[in-house]
Amino acid sequence: MNRFDWLSELLARFQDEHILLYKGSAVVLAPAHTLNVDSEDWASCAAQTKKYRCRFSALWAQQLDDELQLNACYEKQGDYLVLRTKIPLDKPLIHSITPHYANADRPERHCHDMFGIEFKKQPDNRRWSRHKAWQANQYPLRKDFPVAGFNTGLTPPDNDYPFLSVQGSGVYEIPVGPVHAGIIEPGHFRFQAVGEMVLNLEQHLGYVHKGIEKIAEGRDAHRVVKLAARVSGDSCVSHAWASCLAMEKAALCQVPPRAVWLRALMAERERVANHLGDIGAIANDVAFGFFFYQFGRLRETWQRLSQALFGHRLMMDCLVLGGVTQDINQQQIDEILRQIKMLRKEWRELKTVFNENTSLEDRLETTGILSPDYAQRLGCVGYVGRASGQDFDVRRDLAYAPYNKLQVKSPCYNRGDVAARTLVRLNEIQSSLDLIEQICQNLPTGEIQTPWQTPKAGAEGLGFIDGWRGEIVVYVRFAEDNKIDRFFPRDPSWLTWPALEHLIRGNIVPDFPVCNKSVNGSYSGHDL
């Protein structure tokens, strides 16, 4: 089965542009197709893939001896292409692809801060992930940088980040964060406003940079799966799944079907839990307390069943290499189905309130509009993309197991406002409940775990999973003795954070919390 109908056409376009292609592979990073190119052609490749309407998905680098390998992952119609090139470590210079793909901006700046790669013609050469914990000439992900770093004493605050400034009569600035008023993660937002209207917003993230990529190196693969679950705690199942998938591909490990289906069951439960919580929180940000308490209540009952089924309210560490830790019996399946029936009934009642309530309509509709055109240019995924016409769902379009055997209904709208993002999530709850029912009814029998076999050094793998925020990409490369040589988890938030900067413009400052909540980027998943 080959779904890559478009690859040969793209390759022909590359040839027309005299782009030299070296040994490619459909296996190394399956399901993605890998192509090696010259570093001189890096940007012209991006120009071609852009013209060919491929979406930019992820960018990561790794050090291989005295070279740096750069990887760019593109997607079209659910098929993935990874372009690779190498540049010398002592002269790490390459053309930026940001002029072609706006959303490659932060990933490139991250690569610069972590590896010291200079991107030529990169329109924004400010630092991104680096604050003051290491120096401008130190690069934590290079092999000669010790994991302990060179820290002596207190890390000073990052008070000289060069924000864009706006001047004019009546323009004022609002700095917010890193410590916010609510119970949320830290990050800095810099607003320029006139009266109540936001002229511009700039984000400054990286406050919860915990060195995840670096500390994974040299760590045993089993422990890296635990680390992966903590890339973003609200997505612990999806991130662990994506990492397991990448490692299992590297090790050619066949996971028993029952385990695969149980993983999907947990991932859908995670999606429902987060949507329930966030819909309540969105309503709370426009002072509609009724929804906050109703959805908070539903989320709590949902989490309690997760605890009863899998021994953890967030289902953390329930996924391991080769399978899952917990099986469920028929009685538990009945319990799941019973709860779904109840939730459906409550959902219908609350959906009617959502549709008919004029105060919600007044505050959510036409608030924080992300046009389909911008969403496409920023490569937005998940509910942010699907509320703005970007009809992409990894479960449906890549159809990884077990979704190849399931009916995935993915809601999509074009309005792009907070109401549309909320509606996508309301309807995703429904489709997840459908999926859980299908999973419960067709759960294969058999083992839930297979023994793990250590892959050989240099084995690599790529995992794609649709988390509740959207497409998660994880790259792993093994060293000797089951140790990890490179671990790169790309949270969907990398692709949705920039959207917030756009959709808030022209809105009033008091609507920022609800706009932010409707996007709900992960700080931890982004800062790494």
Binding site: H131, K132, A133, P140, F145, P146, V147, A148, G149, F150, N151, L154, T155, P156, P157, D158, P178, V179, A181, G182, I183, I184, E185, P186, G206, Y207, V208, H209, K210, G211, I212, K214, I215, R223, L227, R230, V231, G233, D234, C236, G277, A281, F290, Q294, G296, R297, R299, E300, Q303, R313, L314, M316, L350, T352, V353, E356, N357, S522, S524, D527
Partner: protein, 167 residues
């Protein structure tokens, strides 16, 4: 409006009573008694994430859902450290948040107490100490209460607050 009212009446009060969740009610009443005595009826907590994965935050949110409804025992979460009696700190202290944490600590009026919530805050968890992380909260400021587990469920947080109030 009628639909909202109907739903409200049909839902009733889900906040857990003695017979539904004995632990919750017992901890709660004890907390209330001590909060009344030691904090004149209200204990204000400021939540500070200095490097959490957001797992702990989800469980702090749960404390405010109608099941636990921790505010009924006089414990509430405030928007500024200047209003707080206690800091509830989550996550390893990322080096990029080190100064911010110290400033939050200084901004909190004395007497104050510091609760480290979750394995990361208690002992560094999966992240530990590195070029990017100072590790456990205790490496940066003095900790009075430690709540282990990853993340601790809402009831464990209440239990820990109670135990501290008792000592």
């Amino acid at each position: 409006m009628l639909k909202i009212l109907t739903k409200v009446i049909k839902t009733g009060v889900v906040t857990e009573k003695f017979e539904r969740n004995a632990d919750l009610e017992r901890f709660g009443i004890e907390i209330k008694t001590l909060v009344d005595k030691q904090f004149a009826g209200s204990l204000s907590i400021r939540a500070v994430d200095v490097g959490s994965c957001n797992g702990c935050e989800l469980e702090i949110h749960a404390l405010n859902n109608p099941y636990y409804n921790i505010e009924r025992f006089g414990v509430h979460f405030v928007a500024s450290p200047r209003h707080a009696d206690a800091l509830l700190v989550t996550g390893v202290v990322s080096r990029h948040m080190e100064t911010a944490l110290l400033r939050v600590y200084e901004a909190t009026p004395a007497p104050k107490f510091i609760i480290a919530m979750g394995d990361c805050a208690v002992n560094g968890g999966e992240f530990g100490v590195s070029y990017a992380s100072c590790g456990a909260v205790g490496n940066v400021i003095n900790v009075d209460v430690a709540i282990p587990r990853c993340p601790p469920p809402p009831l464990a947080v209440m239990q820990a607050i109670l135990q501290f109030l008792k000592t």
